[in-house]
């Protein structure tokens, strides 16, 4: 018998991170046949053809080398132009932009670059699953703020103020939000900016869903007065251009902060794959039209989904961004996980329990509308039957 104990070698920080709630649910869904999945956090579109074609062409031309650690100069130039045109932000492609392996890497780099042991990282929840683990691995202490349905899942200045201690250093903002679909407009963000300034915080703004904002224009947090230098802006191509599998994104911010991030990036990643960079360049040059086309499709599905949810009596605030709805299932008498498991078992529809996204997500489910109209319709038929059965059971129990 070997006395080797692998577990003993794993760092304790990592052991303190619980397994992903999504992973657990994934296994359950993967083992069920005939499922309609509205549990997918990525576009149902494949990358527009001209982008794929440009990548193939670049391979034929021999683009197979390392690039600058920061990313190819032409791409950084294009990203700078894009941020200027779409969000009124001006960053120097020389030293204020880095091309990363997805927004995911940018989140990790940003947190590792600025978090010292014991620093507090404030994270409004429910939110995307990677902020907390990355903050913990960076040595930070996560302070969660549960956002509330009655506030449309927005962070309020009062909540932020109440969470501040001397150790507070970083605030992570993600609007449009995964999983709630919440957005924050300029005024609402300005209230947050005042607290940020007052307490000298740094903001990591994950705006990966910025192009998917319905009824109005997205406001980038960095575009607020005084916030540009305090913000590490993270964005990418995954959601807007339907390029999740390419693994490419970027971060923009103060030269010192981006420089610090590049220091980690150059020793851990070296550079983002050149194939993805060539594709991203084509996306920015000629792809925006497709972004708008896909956004219109999401918007149509969004309206349909919300109507169906309201028709079946589930409370759902109107999500104005990303491609998720986050209705409450409390009226069915079920908690989020039970709801999802029973829905999957009885009607073969997959949605994700809200508690997988942290505090404040309990009692809610995340429904992705990155699916065809027909799939959404069929899934809603099934869910309506399921919900009606639960209502009836509740009634019978109440009468007994």
């Amino acid at each position: 018998m070997s006395n080797f104990n692998a577990e003993r070698f794993i760092v304790s920080k990592l052991r303190s991170i619980p397994p992903s709630g999504i992973r657990k649910f994934f296994d359950l869904v993967a083992n069920t046949k005939g499922v309609i999945s509205l549990g997918v956090g990525e576009p149902d579109f494949v990358t527009p053809w001209h982008i794929r074609e440009a990548c193939v062409y670049s391979l034929e031309k021999g683009y197979t080398m390392y690039t600058s650690n920061w990313g190819m100069p032409e791409l950084r130039q294009a990203v700078a132009g894009y941020l200027e045109e779409r969000y009124g932000l001006s960053y120097s492609p020389e030293n204020q932009l880095v091309i990363t392996v997805g927004a995911s890497e940018a989140v990790d780099l940003a947190l590792r670059a600025v978090v010292n042991d014991g620093d507090e990282v404030i994270v409004p929840e429910p939110c995307y699953v990677s902020y907390k683990p990355c903050a913990v691995m960076a040595g930070g202490k996560v302070v969660s703020i549960p956002t509330k349905p009655e506030n449309d899942f927005q962070l309020t200045a009062e909540q932020l103020e109440a969470a501040i201690t001397e150790k507070s250093k970083v605030l992570v903002l993600c609007y449009p939000n995964n999983p709630t679909g919440a957005i924050m407009n300029r005024d609402e963000l300005s209230a947050i900016a005042r607290v940020v300034e007052k307490h000298d915080l740094l903001v990591i703004a994950d705006e990966i869903y910025s192009e998917l904002t319905y009824n109005g224009q997205h406001t980038s947090f960095a575009s607020l007065p005084g916030m540009k230098e305090r913000t590490i802006l993270i964005n990418g191509f995954s959601k807007s251009f339907a390029m999740t599998g390419w693994r490419i994104g970027f971060a923009a911010g103060h030269p010192d902060l981006i420089g610090a991030m590049v220091k980690i990036h150059q020793y851990t990643i070296l550079c983002t794959p050149v194939t993805a960079q060539m594709a991203a360049l084509e996306a920015l040059k000629n792809g925006l039209e497709h972004v708008y086309r896909m956004k219109e499709q999401y918007n149509q599905r969004r309206r349909l989904l919300i109507k169906r949810l309201n028709d079946m009596g589930l409370d759902c605030f109107e999500p104005k961004g990303a491609f998720y709805a986050f209705p409450s299932v409390k009226r069915t008498g079920l908690d989020a996980e039970t709801f999802c498991e029973e829905l999957l078992k009885e009607e073969k529809v997959a949605v994700v329990p809200g508690n997988a996204f942290g505090a404040g997500g309990e009692g809610h489910i995340r429904i992705s509308y990155a699916a065809s109209i027909n799939q959404i319709e069929e899934a809603m038929e099934r869910m309506e039957r399921f919900v009606a059965r639960r209502y009836r059971e509740l009634q019978v129990r109440a009468q007994a």
Binding site: I22, F26, S37, G41, Y128, E296, Q300, R303, A350, A356
Partner: protein, 160 residues
Amino acid sequence: MREKILEILRCNARISHEQIATMLGMDPEEVTREIKAMEDEKVILKYNTLINWEKTDVNVVTAMIDVKVIPQRDVGFDEVAERIYRFPEVRSVSLMSGSYDLSVVVEGKTMKEVALFVAEKLATIEHVQSTMTHFVLKHYKQAGVIFEDKEEDRRQVVSP
């Protein structure tokens, strides 16, 4: 709004007016009114079905015919086109720029039937100077739809 309604109908002509209204955030009556108006104005001509005949027992042979026309005083392309498109065998007729004038799509049950139609009916029309017939061997994509699309949904069933 018309454009958006048309875009939806183009992809699915069988969708209900209520559903279009929901998808576009409109009043259902308004959608019905717009669609009726577009039908009256012949913006919307017909609600067709796209069929892959290869998968049926019906034989459909399609040919595309390049037609050259001798232009003559008082007889424009429109008149010649009309003499062609009145035949039920003719599925479509378009006026073209370039080395020929009319592009004609003809359908029949057999190659012989189509060839005979071209020789006896089309080529003999007054002012038709020449025809060049190309038979379709395989349809890959029509009306924006790929016939055998191998790009299925490859995403993980659940992801964050």
